[in-house]
Symmetry: C2
Subunit: 591 residues, 2 copies
């Protein structure tokens, strides 16, 4: 039985054979490999075949059936004209086709991003397009500079608190459309709820009926598809397809109801989205200035409106896309850098087509996967169908009732919240539950961006507190000649632990007999900063006055140097022993 | 040889005997002990004697000789009338006498606090008095709620960066008085330097001469006292006393020069501090509103002017007083809580006597100690002499030249900086040097308060980064039947380490033969949060699909529960072994 480290194993298995090749061919290989990694289409396109082609078309069409109603709904959340939600899914199909590393991921507008954009669209819709461009640049740069690790500093409780708050806020904003109320809704949760309560008496008859029907239909259709898959027999396949396209089904149903009501009553009892910009967007650079009413915003004005807190937008985009990439990665390996480059480019290119900010969408990605997509080429079919919809169907979209969209959005938000996690945190980790509730409350009452910041700050405080109380093990060994107090330090001591270590040493020596020897064991100590070192050495200085014997055992050279630099007289106190701590021998040596 | 823990030792040695006494007397004992701890005068006053009395008087007088010129100088730094610096040392003598726990500590205005107050005195001098009151309340509350540990989160590099920046800023502000320039000086370093350069041509003749003489005299007098002490023979004792009173000596010399110049030239070639408020301050509650020119500030206006960033003031007061208490504590034991209560009360009571914010002063405390003070009663003599000075000497103070004070302050600031620490950080810890330089730069160019915040934030980032890369040891044990990959986790895993752990597991299994067993050893693991747990369990879910065998070894019950809650199927993977990890046995068990 031999023990070898993983690095030895790696060298052993494959690296030696590669090394023997010529340097030139290694370089060539690397370049080709890097190119294929950064432009994944080069990898999969040569292997493309007819079966892939057919399966990608089927998946693309299925996804488009969801992307269209969702896109329109998310444009409504963002406070934009409905067609902007469709513009958001145009360029992605082509950009992700080339740069996307995952066959399943579908890029497009998402509910959370739309809700973050909403507060800027009040100024002018140009802000949404510019935010896509700027977010794209931030995401791309973070990808290029490998800064994706930054999202690791956002913990599960913070993400869940944020998501739950976003869901509540988005759902609350839809209450107005759900009940067909008059007045405005509001950007914030409290505002939406207040407006809802104030205007509840203006509720219409048909809007809430249709909205409730939408919710019920969505639940039933979801259940209809249970246990079915696209590879089952004919009837099950149909059930699966209807279930997967349920978003389209309920919106088409809503349009049908609206149309019938219009014909029969000769009026429009339901609130409809009405005129929707027809055709493809005009292509051009994103708007670097904007005019709204009498106000003109220069580029710097627009940047000022965004402010530093809008950096949460690209951060959330990365968070969503990387999380989805992880969920759908085979074997758990994710190239976060490539994912960020792809999403960054989708936003930048998209902004030339009037796109709102986009990122990986969980529901559509899952649908894409379930539809048996084989390559990122699936997304191109989605985009082509949306082009067709924009060209030919906008007059039909006139009849989409706002109540249907509200029902759709509220159902989606209900499904976005992870209810189990509340119980799981309650059972296992009350502190994390608190982090989540703080994030959630701040998100709801001060704004989503501040929620993330508050959550991360809270986590920092917890981490600092933990680092300030490192484990210090104290054993007293009773010997014939005198006692040995053995104080074992952990592997990392940062400045906030300085006081704790100082107190631990004082406590350990407080009750000891005067001639006992204090052994400070640094065998495990890897990191120590100068605050800790200076605290310990000042104590040793005091001990020297009272002639208490102190020995530093097995401190790393680097750490010893740091200590001696503070108190040079301590040099002869540092001893090394390769044998397992032989305390008695040490004791004899020092007394 | 028996090994016993420190807690056992403690119980063994004294606790048992105490426990046998009646409960009532324990309670009584505790109350009396607590009272003496919180009102330390009850402890030392009964033991007071004539020798103590005489030594306390001598120390008190010596300290007063420094406290008067320093007090006036610090009032100048704070932009207040000179008498405010003396008001600041009045109440402290009496309050610290009762509540102070250290015989050496002398409370009064300090350079750093004065510099922090300076930006508010521009509004009106009432702001300085109110800031003393409010700071006192914050310090007292932090003492009562045992929040003193918060200063542990400010590291040595941050403190040094802050102190160096404060010294530079205070010294730069004195350049105007040093050279007798016209125009204003400025609150910030850059402002002071710019004004200095712009006005350098207005430099007077006598001011810089006197200022330079002051600096030279201070250096020579400091050297004069070297090797002497108050217990030496007569001539050495005199040298020691003159050296210790050097601040008073140079100011008296300056006054003498100013007086001579006035008589001989019949004009005032030196800039003098001139009229100084005579007598004791009127006693009354601190100003909760203030009028300056045509502007009236209500209490809320004043609070708004202070803003949250002025919380740095009480924090710095605590930092200074606790650091000094530590430096002068016998055996290193410091009752930080009592120190904070005493300093808090000094500020609150002081604000009724028009005091500016006060805290422990390093120079005067060292002087007090060197002068052989025996009890906190020394401070009362200091206060009495300041009362006398305010009553009888203010007309003499008219002649104190600003240049003398500038020389005094600049010399003090030169001595405040720890020059060695730059080299020590450079040699041992470049990262800490960076923290210090960042704190220093932000302090100098954006303001002292922001420097502390920036430094602490930087330390947080370093700590987070460290926590995100915990050590994970991987050993591969080659056995006959199959390999065992042994992955040993450290003792604390926080959410930011989740990705690192995930990657470590993936890397460890990547090159392993497919039927090898992965053993995740949690024997050392004390803390793990749900982000880490869910990351690991999702990976295990993936492994289950590929039928890779995984075993969790010696996870604490609590952590196991957390994992199973996320992925219940993993329950049978958790095994325990009290023997030293017997990998082969485990392997046989699981294959």
């Amino acid at each position: 039985m031999t023990i070898i480290t993983i690095d030895q194993l790696k060298n052993h298995e494959g690296a030696t054979s590669v090394r023997k090749r010529k340097n030139v061919s290694i370089k060539k290989l690397c370049n080709e490999k890097t190119l294929k990694k950064r432009v994944p289409i080069l990898e999969w396109l040569p292997k493309y075949n007819l079966v892939f082609f057919l399966q990608d078309i089927i998946a693309g069409v299925t996804v488009a059936l969801t992307a269209i109603p969702q896109g329109i709904a998310y444009a409504v959340i963002a406070g934009l004209p409905p067609e902007y939600g469709l513009y958001g899914s145009l360029a992605d199909g082509f950009v992700y086709l080339i740069f996307g590393s995952s066959k399943d991921i579908t890029v497009g507008p998402t509910a959370v991003l739309s809700s973050l954009v909403a507060k800027y669209t009040g100024y002018s819709k140009d802000f949404a397009v510019l935010s896509a461009f700027l977010s794209g640049i931030v995401i791309l740069l973070m990808g290029i500079f490998h800064l994706g690790f930054l999202v690791n500093f956002i913990s599960t409780p913070v993400i869940n608190g944020f998501t739950t708050a976003a869901a509540l806020q988005i759902a609350a904003a839809q209450l107005k459309a759900f009940f067909g109320l008059q007045g405005s809704s509001g950007l914030f949760f409290a505002e939406s709820i207040t407006n809802f309560v104030n205007n509840i008496k203006t509720a219409k008859l048909w809007d809430p009926i249709l909205a409730i029907l939408t919710v019920i239909m969505l639940c039933l259709l979801k259940r209809l598809g249970k246990g079915c898959s696209r590879t089952d027999g004919c009837s099950k396949q149909l059930r699966w397809f209807i279930s997967m396209g349920r978003n389209a089904v309920v919106v088409i149903f809503g349009m049908f109801v609206a149309y019938i009501l219009k014909i029969t009553t000769n009026s429009e009892p339901l609130k409809l989205i009405r005129d929707i910009g027809s055709g493809l967007p005009t292509v051009g650079p994103p708007p670097f200035s904007s005019t709204s009413g009498n106000t003109t915003y220069s580029f710097t004005d627009m940047l000022e409106v965004f402010g530093p807190k809008s950096l949460v937008l690209p951060l959330v985009a990365i968070l969503e896309s990387v999380a989805i990439a992880k969920a759908f990665a085979v074997g758990g390996r994710v190239d976060a850098t490539q994912e960020m480059i792809a999403v960054g480019l989708c936003n930048i290119v998209g902004s030339f087509f009037k796109s709102m900010p986009v990122t990986g969408s969980f529901t559509r990605t899952a649908l894409n996967n379930a539809s048996g997509v084989q390559t990122p080429a699936g997304s191109i079919w989605k985009s082509l169908i949306i082009v067709a919809a924009l060209s030919f169907l906008t007059s039909t979209f006139y009849y989409i009732p706002n109540a249907s969209l509200a029902g759709l959005i509220i159902t989606a938000m209900y499904n976005m919240v992870d209810y189990e996690i509340f119980g799981r945190f309650w059972r296992n980790s009350k502190l994390e539950l608190m982090v989540m509730l703080v994030t959630m409350s701040v998100s709801l009452f001060l704004g989503l961006e501040y929620g993330v910041v508050a959550g991360v700050a809270f986590e920092c405080v917890i981490l600092l507190y933990g680092a300030s109380k490192p484990k210090v093990v104290v054993n007293t060994v009773k010997c014939d000649r005198s006692d040995v107090i053995n104080l074992i330090l952990g592997n990392s001591l940062s400045y906030c632990a300085a006081e704790h270590v100082r107190k631990a040493i004082l406590k350990a020596t407080e009750y000891a007999v005067p001639d006992s020897v204090l052994v400070i064991d640094g065998s495990n100590l890897q990191r120590m900063d100068s605050t800790v070192a200076s605290n310990i050495m000042h104590l040793i200085k005091d001990f020297d006055k009272t002639s208490r014997k102190v020995v530093f055992l097995n401190f790393k050279q680097r750490l010893m140097k740091m200590c001696i630099d503070i108190y040079p007289k301590a040099e002869n106190k540092f001893v090394y022993s390769t044998k397992p701590v032989d305390l008695v021998e040490l004791l004899i040596k020092t007394s």
